[in-house]
Symmetry: C2
């Protein structure tokens, strides 16, 4: 139920498509390369003058049919977003924590593995964030949830006013929360219906509710001590910074 | 991979087992009824003099073969812990958020749905906590992970020194974190091997690392406002308390 699978893909106009970016798009600092042939993602990226933070998304079809192009793309992006089955397909690893590490070794500094109703995993250098999904009793239409997630994520980053190098792992944690919340709205209605009437205050309200749902109290002060040895293959960035 | 299924069950000595609790066990305030025939869980519970917080666990086999007894048990416990497939089997709901709500309607004030590598969901009255799993690249042996989770959870509750009615949802959030961390140690080795050399400081260190991995910054103060209308079927207890 939680798995997308490419049963059939009709490229239609994309088959011989060679997108030319309008002039005003070429100066975009934040670039999200949506799911399309990796060669076209590279072609689009070549037209952006000075990208500061580049995110790419893909699906199983391109991993299977255009792996070489996709591996080239991975060397040029800051963040890869893909689902758990795509992560397993690309790396051969069943374990998602290992898959996340292996994906980073292919190029992107940051990787998000999206698990649908089970949330998402964000991997950085010596940094890790596990984000649950926003709880919904009714899911009307999952179409576009992945794009909503990626759009909410990069939209938040662009909104911070930070340049690419100023983006920290903390910004990315918040970006993943925004992506999760945006995706949850998308799931509530068919197509773009929910987004057409969505307001900023609704987003902020749900984000606050979500933060409270996933928060846990800080450890009692007397128990807080620096960690000097690795207790897990994935260390929290904050742990490392105080040790 | 993430799913347990009962292929065959040999009850052996449990077939005609009628456990008699030793005298000193009968005054236990915190009771964890492990997976066994619901009639026996009830029989054990009847022998406890003044239980303050009662947790029960089960498996698909008992839901299918002893549903009536199990429903009786649900009326007498404070918390039910079960995995996602058992939750779906018992309620008929595929959606786990709905399943959690339906399970609470069957009796227990609190429900934990365990999702293995995807973490767990804690449901209370107008309260919800979604807890990721602790990230591990290597899982040696999942046997006993569920019992380790439940044991860590109730062990923390007993350790708080609180009486049953004093246990708050915040205590339960922390208890779920401890359960998650204990289960993660269990996964690292075969059988009880890891627990035999496990120290309290290792537990506290991993708990701290885990808290940092799942934390997210508070919402900017100017964006924090009470939520007056339900934006989700499951509301955070904290949201409700400030609205």
């Amino acid at each position: 139920m939680n798995r997308r699978e490419t049963l059939s893909l009709e490229l239609n106009v994309f088959e011989n498509f060679s997108p030319i970016l309008p002039e005003r798009y070429r100066s975009s600092p934040f670039v999200l390369l949506g799911n399309i042939a990796p060669a076209l993602q590279l072609h689009v990226l070549d037209q952006v003058q000075a990208p500061q933070f580049i995110i790419a998304n893909t699906i199983d079809f391109w991993i299977e049919t255009a792996r070489e192009d996709f591996l080239k793309l991975l060397k040029r992006i800051d963040m890869l977003i893909l689902n758990e089955h795509e992560a397993q397909l690309l790396t051969g690893a069943i374990n998602l924590i290992r898959a996340g590490r292996l994906l980073r070794e292919l190029g992107p500094r940051f990787v998000v593995i999206n698990k649908g109703e089970h949330g998402s995993l964000l991997f950085g250098e010596n940094a890790f964030f596990s984000c649950p999904a926003f709880p919904l009793e009714e899911v009307q239409d999952p179409t576009g949830a992945g794009d909503s997630f990626a759009g909410g994520l990069i939209g938040y980053l662009a909104h911070t006013g930070k340049s690419g190098p100023q983006i920290t792992f903390e910004h990315l944690r918040s970006a993943v929360l925004y992506g999760t919340v945006l995706a949850s709205f998308n799931l509530e209605s068919f197509s773009m219906d929910r987004f057409q009437m969505l307001t900023h205050s609704e987003i902020e309200e749900r984000l606050l509710a979500f933060r409270l749902m996933i928060q846990c109290n800080s450890a009692p002060a007397e128990r807080v001590r620096p960690i000097v040895s690795a207790s897990s293959p994935v260390q929290s960035s904050v742990v490392l910074s105080i040790s």
